[in-house]
Subunit: 216 residues, 2 copies
């Protein structure tokens, strides 16, 4: 029994490590997507668009492993909940990869023009940085199960929501001079960063709940 | 063994029926959200915003039942996959409820003004109708496992994508006269309907995969 338990624990740890790796992948994807959109870099944009499939496949592989562990080990109670939670984290991460992909697609669509006017570069860069930082922190939350840090991720998300509000505020200023198409791009970009961060927060909340049995 | 198997089948059927019920709930929510935004009806908007919690609770209840079934029945192979798929469908449906909620929130934010200018009412109404129709069809797909209909849902989604493209086309016409704020609202509304429909398509695809073992 001790041996079976230990094999199970190893398998759970290995799934957790793969989720941490996937978290790095989606953080890297959003970091580079932000570079693509700010620097108007078509090559990077296309790389991210291609690499999204790698993220999807990585997630499918984690999913298949989790289902296989449930089938073989027939876990109950907290072990089963941990595995179901891992499935959900995988979905969150896969979606974060999609959102980085969406940012890259706007960069590609507007190239060789810049999707982001000069005076909005700072706010988009800040949203990108904050989103990536929060995601890297989420990776640490998954690997350490640090509940204090899970709560920090939640607070960090407020910064992104603030930046998002500032962004919309700039778009609706009467002196806005970049036209509707750019406003639409920036509305969508703001939404992509916000949703991306929401998924990272959701992952941190799931860890918090697994560890404490309470909602953050 | 036959008895256990039959109890399991009953439980699976009951989960499936609950997913069908949840599908009706989110279809109804989006139908009413569309009425709220077109008719500028604050009462309906606030009802939907309040009722989103009911949808969330309903989904949490289905989730808990699925995890309980896995723990007690320890299913393997296709039975386990059906239950994991049911978990994912629940997440899709919960998110669809959120998106109806987002539409209602725009209606409430702009009230007593109309978020949708008269000449765009038709296209938003059409998106709403198509999204609700596709969702009701998805409910039938869940309950009948009709794979032909699952493929139809996929095709119906193209109509919504077309409407979405038309909508963006209208926003970027040089003669657009409703300003940036309205363009932002309509960009977000278009995105909400599109994402809502994407989740319905994703549910139909999951049923297709469960039945055929192939991706649609």
């Amino acid at each position: 029994m001790a041996l079976i338990r230990s094999v199970f624990q190893d398998e759970l740890d290995s799934v957790s490590q793969s989720l941490v790796d996937l978290t790095s992948m989606v953080a890297k994807a959003m970091e580079r997507a932000t570079t693509a959109i700010i620097d108007c870099d078509l090559k990077i944009a296309e790389e991210i668009i291609l690499e999204d499939e790698k993220i999807d496949n990585y997630q499918h592989d984690i999913d298949a492993r989790i289902i296989d562990i449930i089938a073989r080990q027939q876990p109950v109670a907290s072990d089963l909940r941990a595995l179901v939670t891992a499935l959900r984290m995988g979905s969150d991460l896969e979606r974060m990869g999609d959102l980085a992909h969406h940012v890259a697609k706007i960069a590609r669509l507007r190239h060789p023009d810049k999707a982001v006017p000069l005076e909005l570069e700072q706010i988009i860069t800040a949203m990108g940085l904050a989103a990536v930082k929060l995601t890297n922190k989420t990776g640490i939350v998954i690997s350490t199960r640090n509940t204090e840090m899970a709560l920090e991720v939640e607070r960090d998300d407020d910064k992104i929501d603030n930046l998002h509000r500032q962004l919309i505020g700039i778009l609706i200023e009467p002196q806005w001079k970049y036209g509707i198409e750019t406003a639409i791009d920036l509305t969508l970009l703001g939404r992509y960063y916000e949703r991306y961060a929401d998924h990272a927060v959701s992952i941190s909340r799931r860890v918090y709940f697994l560890v404490t049995g309470k909602y953050a």
